[in-house]
């Protein structure tokens, strides 16, 4: 049991280090690199998604308990969120440009 607990303290430290690395990587990429705006946005969004997965797996223990039901419920929330955000941007900014 103490072995398992030791492993899980390590697990949390790994999660914390990963989340710090992802945050500073996003900051550095956004402010100090000569990449194009589109590329920067894509990369920081990908980093944010990884950051979310780190929180879910390392801190929120999404893989415990009613594992499969938790993952399905939360994923459905994410699916609706992506539709709302991407759909709004597509409709209002990309597709609706000619309206203004």
């Amino acid at each position: 049991m103490s072995e398992q607990q030791h492993a899980s303290a390590k697990h949390h430290i790994t999660g914390f280090v990963l989340s710090l690395l992802l945050t500073f990587a996003a900051l550095f990429l956004a402010l100090n690199t000569p990449l194009s705006v589109g590329l920067k946005l894509t990369v920081i969004i990908v980093l944010a998604v990884f950051q979310m997965l780190v929180q879910l797996v390392y801190f929120m223990h999404v893989t415990e308990g009613s594992k499969i039901y938790q993952i399905i419920s939360f994923s459905y929330g994410i699916f609706v969120a992506v539709c709302v955000v991407a759909g709004s941007i597509w409709l209002m900014l990309l597709n609706g440009m000619s309206m203004y």
């Binding site: 607990q5 945050t23 956004a30 920081i44 801190f59 999404v62 308990g65 709302v84 941007i89």
Partner: protein
């Protein structure tokens, strides 16, 4: 404690030992999914209106890298200490729970203090909720997150007073665990605010 009614594969932690505990934890995940959708509508509104500054200040003029990085570090670190508190809870170490949870709440309050002073500074610079569609979207999105953090601090403080009185029972452990889920979730939302509002505003 683990009775024969505990399904196979259930983690051997106090918060999962009763059927009520298991159901309430699952129910909280469903609630978090609804919160994801709530925040998505605010993100969609903000992102669509982010360029509508109506002659008022833009994100580039307002956002200070140092300030939002300190806010981000406070929340990320508090999410980590909150995780450690849940670990201590599973070891049955009440003192450890208090140390890490109080550290978590202190960082949460630090975050709120930073955010309130940030909002006050913006208003003094003439950037209010009424200035432009960009700022309406900004204050509603970031303010809703701040209101959630405030609620989280109050809620977890109340759960801690219950732990102080009743000790680490399957019931108080379940409440601590769910409070922890809420706190980590607020960090997830902040990561997207950090990315979609602050970093995107500066690019």
């Amino acid at each position: 404690m683990a009775s024969s009614s505990v399904p196979k594969g259930t983690p051997n932690f106090p918060e999962y030992q009763t059927e009520e505990g298991r159901l309430k934890i699952f129910g909280f995940w469903v609630f978090l999914a609804a919160e994801v959708v709530l925040f998505s509508t605010l993100f969609a509104t903000y992102l669509v209106l982010a360029d509508r500054t109506a002659g008022g200040p833009t994100g580039k003029e307002l956002f200070e890298v140092k300030d939002f990085m300190i806010e981000t570090m406070l929340l990320l670190t508090s999410s980590f200490t909150c995780g450690l508190a849940v670990l201590e809870m599973r070891k049955g170490n009440k003192k450890g729970v208090f140390i890490w949870m109080i550290a978590t709440l202190a960082m949460g309050l630090g975050f709120l203090g930073m955010e309130i002073s940030e909002f006050v500074a913006y208003v003094h610079e003439g950037a209010t909720l009424q200035t432009s569609a960009f700022l309406s979207g900004f204050f509603v999105l970031v303010g809703t997150h701040g209101a959630h953090v405030t609620l989280g601090v109050v809620w977890i403080s109340l759960v801690l007073t219950q732990v102080a009185k009743r000790g680490l029972t399957p019931m108080t452990c379940r409440k601590l665990f769910i409070g922890g889920l809420y706190w980590h979730f607020l960090d997830v939302v902040w990561i997207f605010i950090f990315t979609a509002v602050y970093l995107t505003g500066l690019i």
